[in-house]
């Protein structure tokens, strides 16, 4: 397929790996891939062992399903139990454990949950079932937030009144700042997400790079994109630079998608948001603006996600911060496996624990 196959060429991959190993010399560096889509791509393509001794890649908090607090799942179940309500969700969310149950378990007991590919499909469900109240579980980062906002706009335009969103939107740069300032995290560069950057633009990382003196390189999700991104980061670390560079220039600009940014500013307001396993990060979430309250399921149906620290041996929080690899958690691969996950990092296909388990890295 065009725009994919040419970024998977094995000969170029070998050349890039050789270049990284040459540049690294005897001193290895520690980099973080912020995004869960990168985590899966790195695990699937087997990049980690190829760079052994030169570059250690630690995984970051960039999996929206993983960082959505359990109180949100509880709120989703509560709203789903209101008579007449129909829940629409991305498939990844169904197995995430709340405090006592998951959407999948409740679906087995009769909760009406439909899996959709696009938030627009949820609007179509509402239009087709005027006697139901459709609540879309709007989970995501900046990549997905414009699609959630676009669905609200589409509902408004088509006067679909039985549609609302239970939003759990998180934004990436604030989380990167938190990680960069944590002395226990010890990373020397950020491999920044491709499609979050498509929306927010490369310039959005300038404050993180300059304030924490840490290099940031945006990379696409194909194997050659990732290897080139790692190579660019490594060269910055060796030079002592802390610049923002963009490997994914074909899909992300310096300023980002201004139309999507305008939509986000119109429909959402930033707030201090809780990240599962991590805690509250100032200004790192988007909630639906008051003037769109009729599309906000929290306002419309009177549900409020309640956030409280979890009591569990699961160390997802430390995995999400890159403090430990999955095999540093006592539950990993024992009490916690994809079929019976204890924590969100094992649930989502893009969770760090699920990626390590599936591709056999870190099991030893």
């Amino acid at each position: 397929m065009k725009h994919i196959d040419e970024f998977r060429d094995p000969a170029t991959a070998r050349a890039l790996v050789a270049r990284i190993l040459r540049d690294a010399g005897n001193e290895s560096v520690r980099l973080m891939e912020v995004c869960g889509t990168h985590t899966v791509a790195i695990a699937r393509s087997g990049i980690r062992p190829l760079l052994d001794g030169a570059v250690t890649m630690v995984s970051g908090p960039g999996c929206p399903v993983c960082v959505t607090p359990d109180g949100y799942i509880d709120a989703a179940i509560a709203v789903g139990r209101i008579p007449g309500v129909l829940l629409a969700s991305f498939g990844d969310m169904l197995r995430v454990p709340g405090k006592s149950s998951s959407l999948e378990k409740e679906k087995g007991k009769g909760l009406d949950v439909r899996v959709v590919y696009s938030p627009l499909d949820a609007v179509a469900l509402a239009a087709a079932a005027p006697d139901r109240e459709v609540v879309f579980l709007g989970v995501g980062f900046e990549t997905t937030a414009p699609a959630i906002g676009g669905a609200i706009r589409a509902a408004e335009k088509a006067t679909v009144r039985n549609f609302s969103v239970l939003a759990s939107v998180r934004t990436i740069p604030g989380a990167m700042g938190m990680l960069a300032s944590d002395p226990e995290v010890r990373i020397e560069g950020f491999l920044c997400p491709a499609h979050v950057s498509t929306i927010i633009g490369a310039d959005a990382y300038l404050p993180v790079a300059s304030r924490y003196r840490i290099p940031c390189v945006i990379a696409g999700f194909e194997p050659l994109d990732i290897l080139l991104g790692i190579s660019m980061l490594l060269r910055q670390v060796k030079d002592g630079s802390a610049r923002v560079e963009n490997e994914y220039s074909r899909g992300a600009t310096a300023a980002g998608n201004r139309k999507a940014q305008e939509l986000l500013r119109e429909l959402f307001v930033p707030f201090d948001a809780e990240w599962r396993g991590i805690g509250v990060i100032p200004g790192s979430g988007l909630r639906i603006a008051a003037r769109y309250a009729r599309y906000d399921a929290e306002e419309k149906h009177g549900v409020r996600p309640v956030f409280s620290p979890e009591k569990t041996a699961c160390r997802c929080g430390d995995v999400l911060k890159g403090k430990i690899l999955p095999n540093g958690c006592p539950l990993f691969g024992k009490a916690c496996v994809p079929e019976e996950p204890s924590g969100p990092c094992m649930v989502s296909s893009e969770g760090t624990c699920a990626a390590h388990f599936k591709y056999g890295t870190g099991l030893q």
Partner: protein, 75 residues
Amino acid sequence: MCLGVPAKILSVRGDTAVIALGGVQREISVVLLEEVSAGDWVIVHAGFAIERLSEEEAERTLALFQEIRNANEAH
């Protein structure tokens, strides 16, 4: 979850476009883009085109790969 796929636009009508994706045609929203027309490549995420793919920039990256392969052979 932030995966987006490159797809070619076949036709546009208002805020909606038809794309070809893995041999299947489907409709997506193009409200997040300024102007799109048939033949453009876009990145599709959750039913929306989130950006136009720059073919020139793609070519530049591929040219850089060629340079890196050449330099590697010289080593």
